[in-house]
């Protein structure tokens, strides 16, 4: 059946629509043809597909052909069945008749004959030529039509319709279309059934030897074609898919070695979208199958055509891409028989064709977003595939230098194996001049030196060395020596050679001699050199490639670059459209490289920036390190100083491992050079990635309100060398209040940053209370104003951490609200010894504030002086340590646990004490030796007399004004005045215990201990005043000496002295010497300074067995001589026994008696008169009579007089009775005998009924 292929193809090309045969019985066609054809194509029909599902067909092109037409008539029956799809799908029988008889006799038999002959689908169109106004003719026509209907229509199927030529009949055309469609549908069903059966039959024989793919193909494609012309494209596509599957199966399964194809000239141009490129007869082989190369492309072209008809260009693209990939693999399998690089050329061609076709068919926005995205992605893939293959070809012919050695190119090319022809093309005989040209090109090639002198191994563009690969595949070469092979490898283009200039120069000269034309011919058998390989490949390629465009693209480096740019742009654009930004941006980088090379630095810089932004944003530093130097170079050329600086800084901030130290130094020197020399105007720059800073590890600096301080900041420099910052400033941001604003800390001194970690201290003025974090670091390097926002690089572990900005910011500074920072208090509240050197304790209590370097100013008040003695300091333990050493005479708490390293002795300089550092955070106690000075002598009092304690307290009070300067820079002060109480050890009181008959008086001296310490009296003596004398031994000592006498704290003791009155003579002599008696006491004190009074420092024993030095205490005592006998005696006469009552008068009586004569020295004129006065509380008593008056009393001893006063008690209870006083007489001369009562009882008044008030009132 392969013979039919040619015919089949011609039918296919000439035949493109459904045919409807017109059986023109009554020669009506010319009349109605126009009407019939102008309503084509049919619309709104439903056809059944292979699975008998109704498929709507929007538009069905139909052709009416008369049955008499030669196209239908002249066919052989065999052909008819094979190409049944081109037979008419319906037969329209056009009749007219105006007479019933004529119908019966002529028309009906003829119609029956036409209709019965086969299974054609037919129907009758009755054309009525009757004019509208002619009723008769119309009627007749109706009758004939009715007959016709009776004859040919059945209940099942209407086969007649009527067309009024002259009458309006709109329904007819619809009727006609319906009927035609129905016929087509039926015919189609039948034909599908037929083809299906045939195909099934053939399919069953698929694995038999007689199987002939051509037959299967013709049947299958006929079916597909039939679907196609019936506009059932979807079904048609399915048939083609099945056909492809079937073909692949036969190709893969048949054991026969078959011809692959692809050897013809022009085969390198893909026929993926061109159906008619090769006739089917050209593809056939052995009469039973097709050559794979052509046939698979043919099938794909058919599918693509249908997909375009279905308006699915995106599917063409995606199917096309996978087809190209899979077909490329097939080509690789047959590469050895195909022309050199046929595969690459084909792929390039196929991709371009596919891109052009699909993009021209594609309209934006018609499909769902994801489909569109996918379409663009495939387009991008096609472009980049095309690009890769183009690069490979270009490399083969020596344009490798024009290809950027970027990761994308390297990855694409170095993993793509070399073409594997059976034999590597050899050098054509007359190509020596071309070889020279190529060699020259190789030599002239400028080695790609990156900006900044970055030397990194260029990425490979080749899977293996081309030189070796080409020579290995040369048939003529017998086992090449490896050294020989590498003879010419000094060419830097090979990628493996190190770009060191010295060997290269050497190689140049060597090559020159080697490649002189003279000895060229004789070198056929030696390994080919690179230039020769290039030339050979070029020649072979020109033989392979028939596409003029591709040839042109490869004709020169410029043309290649043009094409390369075009493809890269296409790929990048499409990837961007498909939201594959990474793919897109990478290709943007490639475009930029071309622009860079071509000198279009502006565009290049823009594109490079895009690439860098992507890589930097996503932190792919390796990739960034490739591109960033290029960007920097462009910016430098464009004189974009800010951009260039920023690029340099970014280069510096990349991972240190990515560049050599030398390169990094180059970056830095660029920055410094620009900043200091080139730039005229300040340029701001963000260096957050390079210079980072953070607070020092550990707690934040704590300051109190108003404290200035020194802030220590860790700054990380990413520079490779030291860099000098002319100035810098740091901002502090308050975290608690937004409105606080930002404080800048400036340092105008030049600071040198070492690479890595630096600690910078900034002086900090006083800040408002709050918590602060570091804000921005700004500074200046030459004209460069840099700025860094990063602040949280904690340590070296995460120096390369890009996420550091997500770390919570740590406060660097805390400024507290004003509060009490320290407290000073007196350690002891009890009194200290007056006039002795005493420790006064001052508790220094820091309240969560370090007192480092604090200075205490001590200013003693009047009457207090600081002794020349070392000041002691110790840890204060709030009493917790008290138990361990109370009573220790040193008076210092010396717990061993407190570490002996703590200094305890301090010195006072200019009334200032510097507190030691260890005491900065602990409560400590300062012991200052002081002495309170009091000139006055203590005075004893009489026992029983009220002693004003207050007076002595006030006298013993001394003050110490303290001022503590502390804080970071001694800005904080705390002032307090402490009151310290001093006292004498004893308070002395006296009384005469007894008066003996012999005139000896026993004087009791009572000692009250005034201090909180144990006092020991060692000795006591009394220096008596005039008028008194010691009786007894006369050693002025007490009568009984039980010394030492210990008096514990706050208790009393007494000693007795026996004294007598002195006679007057002696008295006069010593009067001036002893106005008062003086009590001398020698005593010792044992007390702790933490409790109060203690042994004075200068009295402390030198050694433990030494007796305590005794202290002296003196107190003056006023002794009164005993009183003489009284002159007058006043006696209170008893009150009436009935008692006193309120409101009852009572007479108070006193008896005044002169006991003896008045002394001779009492001279008075009216000696016989005595003034009296009655004192009574007027609230208690009403006194009737004279309260004050004179009574007459004779001056003689024994005279007596009675005074009576009438009194009225006013209140009930115990009240003081009225007292009688004699104001003129000294109290000492009055003896009260018997004495008056202290209180008297006054009864309430008697109940008197007359005062009663009736209860009812």
């Amino acid at each position: 059946m392969a013979n039919f292929l040619a015919q089949f193809q011609s039918i296919k090309t000439s035949f493109d629509r459904v045919i409807i045969a017109v059986e023109d019985v009554s020669d009506l066609w010319p009349l109605v043809k126009e009407g019939f054809e102008e309503r084509l194509p049919f619309k709104l029909g439903f056809l059944n597909n292979k699975t008998r599902n109704a498929v709507p067909v929007d538009e069905l092109p139909v052709e009416y052909i008369l049955t008499t037409d030669s196209r239908i008539r002249s066919r052989f029956p065999q052909e008819q069945s094979l190409f049944w799809f081109r037979e008419p799908y319906a037969t329209v029988v056009l009749v007219t008749c105006e007479d019933l008889d004529e119908f019966k006799t002529i028309l009906k038999p003829r119609l029956k004959l036409i209709v019965q002959n086969d299974e054609r689908e037919w129907f009758v169109v009755f054309v009525s030529k009757a004019p509208v106004h002619n009723d008769l003719a119309t009627k007749m026509a109706k009758k004939v039509y009715a007959k016709l209907e009776v004859e040919f229509s059945s209940k099942k199927r209407e086969r007649c319709c009527k067309l009024d030529i002259h009458g309006p009949d709109a329904n007819f055309w619809e009727d006609l279309e319906l009927k035609v469609t129905e016929c087509i549908r039926n015919t189609l069903d039948r034909r599908i059934q037929f083809y299906e059966d045939e195909i099934r039959k053939l399919s069953e024989q698929r694995f038999m030897p007689i199987w002939n793919f051509c037959n299967f193909f013709i049947l299958k494609e006929s079916l597909a074609f039939m679907f196609d012309i019936a506009h059932l494209h979807e079904d048609s596509l399915r048939e083609y898919d099945e056909l492809e599957l079937c073909y692949l199966e036969t190709v893969n399964n048949s054991g026969k070695q078959r011809d692959f194809g692809g050897m013809d000239h022009g085969d390198d141009q893909a026929a993926v979208l061109e159906l008619g490129k090769k006739a089917l007869t050209q593809m056939v082989q052995d009469d039973d199958s097709f050559r794979e190369f052509e046939f698979r492309q043919y099938l794909f072209a058919c599918q693509a055509k249908l997909l375009f008809k279905l308006n699915r260009p995106f599917e063409v693209a995606s199917r096309g891409y996978s087809f190209i990939i899979s077909f490329s693999k097939v080509l690789a399998l047959h590469e050895s028989i195909l022309p050199f690089c046929m595969r690459e050329a084909w792929v390039i061609n196929a991709c371009s064709a596919l891109i052009d076709a699909t993009s021209s068919h594609y309209k934006d926005g018609l499909v769902a977003a994801d489909v569109e995205q996918e379409f663009y992605r495939v387009q991008g893939d096609l472009y980049s595939l095309c690009r890769t293959k183009l690069m490979r070809l270009a490399y083969l012919i020596g344009y490798g230098s024009a290809i950027q050695r970027s990761p994308v190119n390297s990855a694409s090319l170095s993993m793509l194996s070399w073409p594997k022809p059976a034999v590597w093309p050899s050098l054509p005989p007359d190509a020596s001049s071309e070889v020279l040209v190529k060699e020259k090109m190789i030599l002239q090639e400028i080695p790609q030196v990156k900006h900044f002198g970055i030397q990194r191994k260029p990425l490979p563009l080749e899977p293996t060395l081309l030189l070796r690969e080409a020579n290995r595949r040369r048939a003529s070469l017998s086992a090449g020596n490896v050294f020989e092979l590498f003879d010419g490898r000094a060419n830097a283009t090979d990628g493996s050679a190190l770009p060191s200039p010295l060997p290269k120069a050497h190689a140049i000269s060597m090559l020159r001699t080697n490649s002189s034309p003279g000895n060229f011919e004789s070198m056929i058998d030696r390994p080919m050199r690179l230039a020769e390989i290039y030339v050979a490949a070029e020649h072979a390629l020109w033989n392979t490639i028939s596409d003029a465009d591709l040839k042109k693209s490869l004709s020169s480096i410029e043309e290649f670059e043009q094409k390369y740019l075009e493809l890269s742009k296409g790929a990048a654009d499409n990837y961007h459209h498909s939201w594959w930004k990474r793919h897109g941006v990478v290709l943007d980088g490639e475009i930029a490289a071309i622009y860079h090379k071509l000198g279009n630095f502006d565009l290049a810089a823009k594109l490079y920036e895009k690439v860098c932004a992507l890589y930097a944003g996503e932190g792919w530093q390796n990739l960034l390190a490739e591109v960033l130097p290029n960007l920097a170079e462009c910016q430098k050329i464009l004189n974009d100083q800010a951009g260039y600086l920023s690029s340099c800084v970014r280069l510096l901030s990349l991972d240190k491992g990515l560049f050599l130290t030398k390169e990094r130094q180059a970056f830095q020197s660029e920055v410094v050079r620009l900043a200091h020399d080139e730039m005229k105007h300040p340029v701001p720059l963000d260096v957050s990635s390079l210079i980072t800073f953070s607070s020092n590890p550990g707690p934040p600096l704590q300051l109190c309100d108003g404290d200035p301080g020194t802030l220590s900041v860790t700054v990380w420099s990413g520079f490779s060398d030291d860099i000098v910052l002319e100035s810098f400033s740091l901002t502090l941001t308050a975290t608690n209040s937004a409105d606080e604003g930002i404080k800048a800390l400036k340092s105008s001194n030049a600071t040198t940053l070492k690479p890595g970690r630096n600690t910078i201290t900034v002086s900090l003025p006083a800040q408002k209370p709050g918590s602060y974090v570091l804000g921005v670091l700004t500074g200046q390097i030459g004209q460069l104003r840099f700025r860094s926002h990063s602040f949280s690089k904690g340590g070296p572990a995460d120096t390369d951490d890009f996420m550091s900005y997500e770390k919570p910011t740590r406060p660097i500074l805390k400024v507290f609200s004003p509060r009490l920072l320290v407290d000073l208090a007196a350690a002891v509240s009890s009194a200290l010894l007056m006039n002795e050197c005493q420790w006064v304790g001052i508790i220094v209590k820091p309240i969560n504030y370090p007192l480092k370097g604090a200075i205490l100013h001590v200013d003693t008040g009047p009457g207090l002086s600081i002794e020349q003695h070392a000041i002691e300091i110790e840890r204060y333990d709030d009493g917790s340590c008290d138990s361990c050493d109370f009573g220790v005479s040193e008076g210092s708490i010396d717990c061993e646990s407190h570490g002996s390293a703590e200094p305890k002795q301090l010195t006072l300089k200019d009334a200032k004490i510097e507190l030691p550092d260890w005491a900065s955070n602990v409560t400590s106690i300062l012991w200052i030796p002081v002495r309170a000075i009091s000139e006055s002598l203590a005075r004893g009092t009489q026992a029983g007399a009220a002693v004003s304690q207050r007076q002595s307290v006030v006298e013993g009070l001394r003050t110490i004004a303290l001022k503590l300067e502390f804080g970071v820079s001694h800005n904080q002060t705390f002032e307090k005045t402490l009151a310290v109480h001093f006292t004498e050890p004893f308070h002395v009181s006296t009384r005469i215990v007894d008066k003996c008959n012999d005139g000896t008086l026993l004087l009791q001296v009572i000692l009250h201990s005034q201090v909180k310490a144990s006092l020991t009296v060692h000795d006591a003596w009394l220096d008596l005043q005039d008028g008194f004398t010691h009786t007894g031994k006369g050693d002025r000592r007490p009568t009984s000496a039980y010394f030492p006498l210990t008096i514990s704290s706050k208790s009393r003791a007494a000693i007795l002295f026996s004294i007598g009155l002195e006679n007057a003579l002696i008295k006069n002599q010593v009067e001036a010497v002893h106005p008062d008696s003086i009590l001398n006491i020698q005593y010792g004190i044992s007390g702790s300074r933490i409790h109060g009074a203690h042994t004075p420092m200068d009295a402390e024993p030198v050694a433990s067995d030494d007796s305590v030095k005794q202290l002296n205490f003196r107190s003056s005592l006023a002794l009164l001589r005993p009183v003489l006998d009284p002159c007058l005696a006043v006696g209170f006469l008893p009150l009436p026994s009935s008692g006193l009552r309120v409101g009852q008068l009572v007479t108070m009586k006193w008896r005044v008696e002169r006991v003896r004569d008045l002394g001779e020295n009492i001279v008075s004129e009216n000696n016989d008169e005595v003034l009296y006065e009655v004192n009574a509380n007027p609230e208690n008593w009403m006194i009737a009579g004279r309260k004050r008056g004179h009574i007459l009393l004779s001056a003689k001893q024994g005279s007596r007089m009675e005074i009576s006063i009438l009194c009225l008690p006013l209140v009930a209870g115990y009240v003081h009775p009225p007292q009688l006083g004699l104001p003129d007489v000294d109290e000492a001369h009055i003896s009260c005998n018997p004495p008056g009562p202290h209180l008297v009882c006054v009864w309430p008044p008697t109940i008197s009924s007359s005062y009663c008030i009736p209860a009812s009132a």
């Binding site: 990761p407 990855a411 170095s414 993993m415 996503e618 890009f802």
Partner: protein
């Protein structure tokens, strides 16, 4: 063991936080560059595919000549474990990913590790390499 394999962990911000050449082939300096490039470009595909499936393991999402990119996307942080490999041992790769995922979770539990920052733990590195030897 695969001759070429490059393993990389990419954080949700597309930042590589861990990378290791775990192939048996001798290390080539330039290979690392290419591998990074291929894995980086594969992120484009992951971003499309990750949301179309509930599976964490996306096998063979991208092919680059002979090399295949397999990806494992974690559920919570959308961290991507990416492996560029030339072996076809899907089960091994899956196990490898699962075990590395566990390791990664352990790293995340470390209070001193800041999620999204580079993994510098040498312990992690050793473990990953051991897993690679075991499964790939």
């Amino acid at each position: 063991m695969a001759s070429t394999a490059c393993f990389m962990i990419v954080s949700k911000n597309d930042i590589p936080i861990y990378e290791a050449e775990v192939g048996a082939a001798p290390r080539k300096e330039e290979a690392a560059h290419q591998h990074q490039f291929i894995l980086h470009a594969a992120l484009d595909i992951v971003q499309d595919l990750a949301w179309t499936t509930s599976a964490m393991f996306l096998k063979g999402i991208d092919r680059f000549n002979d090399l295949v990119v397999s990806v494992y996307v974690t559920a919570g942080l959308h961290t991507r474990l990416m492996l560029l490999h030339d072996s076809r041992n899907d089960d091994g790769i899956k196990s490898f990913f699962q075990e590395v995922h566990e390791l990664y979770i352990k790293t995340l539990l470390n209070p001193l590790y800041l999620p999204g920052s580079r993994i510098t733990s040498s312990h992690f590195d050793t473990k990953v390499r051991a897993l690679a030897r075991k499964y790939l």
